[in-house]
């Protein structure tokens, strides 16, 4: 029989207490709220899973969830390949290497609300460099009021409910989707802003991953006459897998919980184009004081993030386990 020393559990206690106060207690509070209807301190009713039912049937939440998935999907589809591409192009030695590293790190150092403000000014049609330039170029761009011009024909067609692939599919799936009220300049601006803000992170992670590949792999590839694509496909990409896993998870979770940037830039509008899940949640909890549904919703939100992160993790580490 193996002797077990249970005293070791005491060593975990400090961490357990810390986690209890930072995560477990708040979360259980939320669980508590989610099954009650609360009017004031003394007036509360147990309602069971009613709030969950209500939340799961709320079309406003369906819409934001869909927007959120499209947004996070776009973020990953743009930032991950772009980050890898940038990392591949970054110089490896000399002064330029340090300079580029610093330049790449700058967006990461700027606080979220400042990023929102920067882009708010940058995009303004009257005094913003980008907005002004676009308008001078004859492109009608106004993130504050426009809802459908600059997204371009691609999204217009793609999203159309009658002939667009995405619009048609989504509607067939029973999801009410209509780009005219949900997407727009604002949406794209938020996306570009996120790309600007966070692609650096992906690039820097990939850069460090690339630097960790021993030279001998490249040498062997040259001896084997591997093409540049084969080197990327069979050496760089597999060796980047672990950092990419981190990058994908971080970017997914962060973008899925995006709040400050759209809040500062557009306040969720125009219409609901940039109202993402966290904002809907805030409106519900603080704006309307619907604590019960908000609590139920945040638990569902939490489970979605957990589930998707788990899916990513499993998919990306799947190959290591199979023989």
């Amino acid at each position: 029989m193996k002797v077990q020393n249970n005293k070791a559990w005491w060593l975990v206690l400090p961490v357990f207490l810390l986690v209890a106060f930072s995560a477990i207690v708040p979360m259980m509070t939320v669980v508590n709220y989610s099954v009650q209807d609360i009017f004031d301190h003394s007036t509360r009713y147990f309602v069971g899973v009613d709030w969950y039912k209500q939340v799961l049937q709320d079309t406003r939440l369906h819409d934001s969830l869909l927007r959120q998935f499209i947004f996070s999907g776009c973020v990953l589809l743009i930032e991950i390949p772009l980050g890898i591409a940038i990392a591949l192009c970054m110089p490896t030695k000399g002064r330029m290497a340090s300079l580029v590293l610093i330049v790449m790190a700058i967006p990461l150092l700027i606080p979220w609300n400042v990023v929102g403000t920067i882009w708010q000014i940058f995009g303004r049609a009257d005094i913003g460099l980008m907005g002004w330039t676009l308008n001078k170029l004859g492109i009608a761009y106004n993130y504050a009021s426009d809802t459908g011009d600059v997204v371009g024909t691609i999204w217009q067609i793609f999203g159309r409910a009658d002939i667009g692939l995405m619009g048609w599919t989504l509607n067939k799936l029973g999801i009410a989707y209509n780009y005219a009220s949900d997407t727009g300049d604002a949406w794209v601006t938020v996306l570009i802003m996120d790309v600007w803000h966070w692609t650096s992170l992906v690039a820097l992670l990939c850069y460090s991953g690339l630097r960790a590949i021993p030279d001998v792999y490249y040498q062997a590839a040259r001896i084997d006459r591997a093409s540049a694509w084969a080197v990327f496909r069979h050496i760089q990409l597999p060796k980047l897998k672990s950092v990419l896993l981190i990058a994908v998870m971080l970017r997914f979770m962060d973008s899925f919980m995006i709040y400050t940037e759209p809040f500062v830039l557009t306040g969720g509008g125009p219409g609901n184009a940039t109202t993402f899940l966290s904002q809907t949640l805030t409106q519900m909890a603080i704006g309307q004081f619907d604590l019960g549904p908000a609590a139920a919703f945040s638990l569902v939100y939490f489970l979605i993030i957990l589930l998707v992160s788990w899916l990513f993790y499993t998919a990306m580490t799947h190959n290591d386990k199979t023989r």
Binding site: P214, Q219, A220, R222, I223, R225, A230, H234, P238, N319
Partner: protein
């Protein structure tokens, strides 16, 4: 298949080399003949790997030329030189199966799949990789990975040469022996020029027909294992080859020979004459521990030394003794009586080597001092 010729080749990693110290490879001329099995032997940092990378084209030499069959290939990339190289640490493509790993260089050449299948199977047979062919390369042990690495080099039989850069470092000892024999077999079968870099003399002498010993960025001797053992042309070769290495004693010139302390070693008239013709600043004599003659008892002609230490290595013994203030090592066979305290020994003239400024003084006229490869046995 090619003869590889290094013409006035030198390499320095510094941009403005200043003196010999800055050169990883000092100017050399050397020929690796077509179809030979060669070893490049030397201590760490002597320039072996640099030289190998220059031959394969991974590194471009700062001076001189690399020629394949008389054609200068300096400007050709490794991809264009048609050369295979196996590295010290295993390199496998993790995403591929063992089969695809082995097929990879062939596919890059555009070979048709039927031939690839035949080639891969052939090499997998030789390296005993058959049971692993369908396995993903990332799940192999270090041994197996290195076999795959080697397989990727060996699978291309049209290559000019296969270069091995200490390929058996990560391999288990019992497998090392087996793999070395495999390489030898493959060499005999395909008749490809092979250059094998190692710092292990045993590995070098079991693999190669001829060994180039490198020291300080130069090839100091190129010869068969036996030549390196019997007539080291540089003190480093004497010291590096053999276990223990050659006894080297600093001596001074005297009438009719050389001496250290009170011990006079007479030289042949020819050697005396040669020594007078040469310019030198230091003189050494060298004799291998195996060749020192130990007498069983007192002998008129023998010199008397004092026993310092005896090391029993099972099949033979290493006796350390002091002779006129110099420590010498002598190898005694198992059945030889072990001298106590006093030992009588003599140095057979044919095994006593004389080194002027670290290079062997040869009596036979006009043999170049071994930097060049055209030293015939």
């Amino acid at each position: 298949m090619a003869e590889i010729r290094l013409h006035n080749l030198a390499h320095s990693y510094s941009r403005a080399p200043n003196g010999n110290g800055d050169y990883a490879i000092r100017e050399m001329n050397h020929v690796w003949a077509q179809g030979g099995a060669y070893a490049l032997l030397g201590p760490s940092g002597c320039g072996k790997s640099t030289l190998l990378n220059i031959i394969s084209g991974l590194l471009s030499p700062s001076h001189g030329e690399v020629q394949f069959d008389g054609k200068v290939v300096n400007h050709l990339h490794p991809e264009q030189r048609n050369i295979a190289q196996v590295f010290q640490f295993p390199v496998v493509y993790d995403t591929m199966t063992v089969f695809d790993n082995l097929a990879f260089p062939l596919r890059n050449q555009g070979m048709n799949e039927a031939r690839i299948l035949a080639k891969v199977n052939e090499i997998a047979e030789v390296l005993e990789l058959h049971p692993l062919l369908r396995k993903r390369a990332s799940n192999l042990t270090a041994d197996e990975k290195q076999k795959v690495s080697m397989g990727r080099g060996l699978v291309r039989d049209d290559v000019s040469a296969i270069l091995f850069d200490e390929p058996l470092t990560v391999i288990d000892p019992h497998l090392k022996w087996k793999l070395r024999r495999k390489l030898k077999q493959i060499h005999e079968q395909f008749n490809i020029t092979m250059v094998y870099v190692t710092h292990d003399q045993l590995e070098a002498s079991t693999f190669a027909d001829k060994i180039a010993v490198m020291y300080g960025g130069q090839i100091v001797q190129f010869g068969t294992p036996r030549e390196l053992f019997e007539r080291p042309s540089h003190t480093f070769v004497g010291y590096f080859i053999g276990s223990p290495g050659m006894n080297l004693i600093e001596v001074s010139r005297c009438e009719g020979g050389v001496r250290f302390a009170d011990t006079v070693l007479p030289l042949s008239p020819a050697l005396n004459q040669r020594l007078d013709e040469l310019q030198w600043t230091s003189l050494k004599v060298g004799i291998r521990p195996e060749f020192v003659h130990v007498w069983e008892g007192f002998n008129e002609d023998a010199r008397c030394g004092e026993v310092v230490h005896l090391e029993d290595l099972g099949t033979y013994k290493i006796l350390t003794l002091r002779l006129d203030g110099q420590l010498l090592k002598v190898r005694l066979q198992e059945d030889q009586p072990v001298p106590q305290q006093q030992v009588y020994l003599s140095f057979p003239a044919q095994w006593l080597m004389l080194y002027a400024d670290e290079y062997l003084v040869e009596v036979l006229p006009a043999q170049p001092q071994s930097q060049s490869s055209e030293v015939q046995p």
